[in-house]
């Protein structure tokens, strides 16, 4: 049993397994780029499943539309995580040992090393050693007396390589943990706010149109802050390409909430508001036509409802603005007299035959093409309905009937048969905001920076050894040098050559340049 465990552990923490797991990770991540993902676009996933039959359903069952939350993806990275831990523990121990260790003993035969040099100099062995010590400052040195009166020094350098390597791998672990913590405590909510001084407060999940909590977030304990959207400006180039978007907002958080102090902020793309530990982003914008309905009894209702852009280039938008008759308490009565104004809005109107189109995303010549529907909107059916559409079932069953169709410009008014007047008063803009909260993301950043630093250090610095041996001989000293790069030989020959040249310049300045320094690279 212990043998099995030990073998499993060894197998799991071997480099070969790590390599295979890395490949599996790359392979497992790939489908997420090729197949639609629920987290990015649930509508696309549904369409994909619908159009691919049993194959689409099979992929769904195998979690291919939720790759990064799937069992198999999690399994791969968990195994990799364990493998990483198993690799790092012994290496850290070894590192701690090496940090106190001494450079290894000088090999008997330096000529067998990949880099070596031999020459005779006039200096004594002591002088040679002193020069070597001088030149090898910054290296970790160990001098030794040898049997036959020779002296040698072992030098080693580049311990930072392993430091960087360990920093990189530990930072990797840290990053994964920070990511996991983030997944627990983060939340993300989106909300549409009219840019006419409307307010939004981060008080609970109900304030949002959509809300995605982390695993440990129930939405009862959000960081309180409020945002008021005063104005929105979009500027476009003549080509229709957006130049900038800006929402003029005011916000309050912390003590400002108690004192009701509002602070101004210009919210732009690439410039989110950071307050109360949360971030507020400007994601997109759109138009909200303003309609006033004057009911036959003279009562007026004005609604400004956001319509959604159906064309991102021209901002042709669609939507439905819905009215309840005022003062009608009887539900049956009310359900016969509800009104919906539905159709298209164009910021810059162009008529393509009878159809309203838009030529430009900015509001140069706004117009609406609307159907007015009267009857039962189906609000009491108990089912939620889209704010952009009328309930098609009600239309199909005849309970919601079209009573007018009209193209209107701001200021236009129409009168229905029953005397109800509908006027198109103007247009407001709305902004789509996202609030994000992730207490661990700063740690993700810290670890990411450490990853780059560790990686750079470990790849730039070479762990290398150099030995100098001085053997007394007739009329001088035989100087032997040897060099070995422990990790990768590439480029070490140059440094070895430089050290050798420097030593020879010092010890035998008048030597002929003809004795070559062999710096063979392997």
């Amino acid at each position: 049993m212990t043998a099995l465990l030990r073998n499993t552990w060894r197998g799991l923490t071997s480099m070969r397994t790590a390599l295979v797991l890395l490949f599996l990770l790359a392979l497992a991540a790939l489908p997420g780029a090729l197949l639609p993902q629920r987290s990015l676009n649930p509508q696309k996933v549904d369409d994909y499943i619908a159009s691919h039959g049993w194959w689409g359903r099979l992929l769904d069952r195998l979690e291919f539309y939720n790759v990064y939350g799937s069992v198999w993806f999690s399994a791969v990275y968990l195994l990799l995580f364990i493998s990483l831990v198993g690799c790092l523990l012994p290496r850290s121990l070894e590192y701690a040992k090496a940090a106190r260790g001494k450079p290894v003993i000088t090999p008997r035969n330096l000529a067998r090393l990949p880099h070596h040099h031999e020459t005779t100099v006039d200096a004594t062995p002591e002088e040679v050693m002193a020069t070597a010590r001088q030149r090898l400052r910054g290296w970790r040195l160990q001098e030794r007396e040898e049997e036959d009166g020779a002296r040698s020094v072992s030098a080693e350098r580049g311990y930072l390589r392993e430091t960087g390597n360990l920093v990189f791998h530990f930072a990797m672990l840290g990053l994964i943990i920070a990511l996991a913590i983030g997944k627990m405590y983060q939340y993300e909510g989106q909300v549409i706010v009219l840019a006419n001084g409307s307010q939004f407060c981060n008080s609970g999940t109900l304030s949002y149109d959509t809300f995605r909590p982390g695993l440990r977030v129930d939405g009862t304990d959000l960081d309180p802050f409020c945002v008021k959207v005063d104005d929105f400006t979009a500027s476009f180039l003549p080509t229709g390409q957006a130049d900038y978007y800006r929402a003029d907002i005011e916000y309050q958080s912390g003590e400002d909430l108690a004192t009701n102090t509002w602070r101004p902020y210009k919210l732009e793309v690439n410039s989110p508001l950071r307050t109360a530990g949360d971030r507020v982003y400007l994601l997109s914008h759109g138009y909200a036509p303003v309609f006033t309905v004057t009911f036959p009894d003279g009562k007026k209702r004005m609604h400004t409802t956001q319509w959604r852009p159906v064309n991102q280039m021209t901002y042709l938008s669609e939507g439905a603005t819905k009215f309840d008759p005022p003062g009608v308490t009887d539900p049956t009565q009310r359900r016969q007299r509800q009104l919906a104004i539905t159709g298209l809005f164009a910021p810059t109107a162009v008529m393509q035959g009878d159809l309203l189109g838009s030529a430009f995303p900015d509001m140069r010549d706004p117009a609406v093409a609307i159907d007015v529907l009267k009857g039962d909107l189906g609000n009491e059916s108990g089912r939620g309905q889209s704010i952009y559409e009328v309930n098609q079932e009600m239309v199909d069953s005849g309970r919601l009937k079209r009573v007018a169709r009209e193209n209107m410009r701001p200021g236009d008014q129409i009168t229905l048969d029953d005397g109800t007047k509908i006027s198109f008063d103007g247009v407001r803009q709305w902004v789509y905001l996202q609030v994000s909260h992730d207490p661990a993301q700063v740690w993700v950043l810290v670890f990411a920076v450490l990853i780059v630093l560790g990686l750079g250090t470990s790849l730039v610095i070479k762990r290398r050894r150099l030995w100098v041996r001085a053997v007394p001989a007739d009329g001088g000293t035989v100087l032997l040098l040897g060099g070995l790069a422990r990790t990768d030989q590439a480029g070490y020959g140059e440094e070895f050559g430089r050290v050798t040249e420097d030593l020879l310049d010092e010890l035998a300045p008048e030597r002929e340049h003809a004795d070559a320094v062999t710096g063979r690279e392997t």
Partner: protein
């Protein structure tokens, strides 16, 4: 701000002439590769002497060796000419980007055409650096080939008229993130190509007699990868920082992010493979090639076929 059309068209001309210079340089490299083969025998001998004794080159060469040199001087000259042409191309390439930047008043890497141009510039620049350190000049044709193909595709299919960028790209992170990514990718193109040559050398030696020794190729690939990997890593992290500022999250498995991650993992595997018995050499080279394939896939397929957040202005 207005686009300066004059500068923009000068930029286009520079781009075109740079591609032309690269094509001619390619032909010259090819000539050297084809006819400069026997020269390397003589050069090999010269190098042996010159390592320890600079300035004492023409000592005792036999007449036979001299004829070899004589015969191949021409190829050598053509090879040097190819390098000069490459440098000339790089200068025009730089000018093309600089002029586009001046014409649009922004960093000249705001769309796919410009991104490809930066990537290719870095790739050629990397190659010039490699040339100074390793005797691999005649391989220039194989490195310039993908560069010329990419630049041709960029100039013909992906060409975008000089224009300002949309609000999401108006950030100093455009300068930092896109440039680091383009640099990392550009450098990684070189080891990818060299790894293909390495495989050829190791698996089909008979076809590859004119390629340098396998360990030289392996070293070029390794050193370039090791240099580029931290840059690429930093580029991805800069991207995450920008995404946090622009899209509201630092990582969201957008297709581009996903494949960038996949490529990163593949290159990490390459580095690990070199420390694993049985994976050095051929297998490591294959991993490097897979890494390059992932980068190219990310550049073309993900941008042009998949709809993600990284698609800007059509391309």
């Amino acid at each position: 701000m207005d686009i300066n059309q004059t500068l923009s068209s000068y930029s286009d001309w520079c781009y075109g002439i740079a591609v032309g210079a690269y094509v001619v340089a390619m032909l010259f490299y090819l000539y050297e590769q084809a006819f400069g083969y026997r020269r390397r025998v003589a050069v090999g001998k010269r190098e042996l002497v010159s390592v320890g004794a600079p300035g004492s080159e023409s000592t005792d060469e036999t007449p036979a060796e001299e004829t070899v040199l004589e015969r191949n001087n021409r190829a050598e000259r053509i090879g040097k000419l190819a390098v000069s042409l490459t440098v000339f191309g790089v200068m025009l390439h730089v000018a093309a980007l600089a002029l586009r930047g001046l014409a649009t008043h922004r960093a000249p890497w705001g769309n796919m055409y410009e991104f490809g141009a930066v990537l290719c510039l870095v790739a050629v620049g990397t190659w010039l650096v490699v040339l100074r350190k390793y005797p691999v000049r005649h391989l220039g044709v194989w490195v310039l080939l993908p560069v010329v193909v990419l630049m041709f595709l960029g100039g013909v299919l992906l060409y975008t008229t000089a224009a300002p960028v949309q609000p999401a790209l108006q950030s100093y992170w455009l300068v930092i993130h896109v440039f680091t990514i383009a640099s990392g990718s550009g450098i990684l193109l070189v080891p990818g190509v060299v790894s293909i040559l390495y495989l050829l050398k190791v698996r089909r030696p008979a076809w590859a007699t004119r390629l340098p020794a396998a360990d030289v190729l392996d070293q070029v690939a390794y050193r370039a990868t090791v240099f580029a990997f931290p840059i690429y890593t930093a580029g991805v992290i800069f991207g995450a920082i920008w995404a946090e500022e622009s899209w509201g999250r630092f990582w969201g498995w957008d297709p581009k992010e996903t494949v960038a991650f996949v490529a990163w993992v593949v290159y990490a595997a390459y580095l690990h493979s070199r420390a694993t018995a049985g994976w050095r050499g051929g297998r490591a080279a294959i991993i490097n090639i897979v890494g390059m394939a992932a980068m190219i896939f990310n550049l073309f397929f993900i941008n042009l076929v998949t709809a993600g957040l990284h698609s800007y202005a059509g391309v």
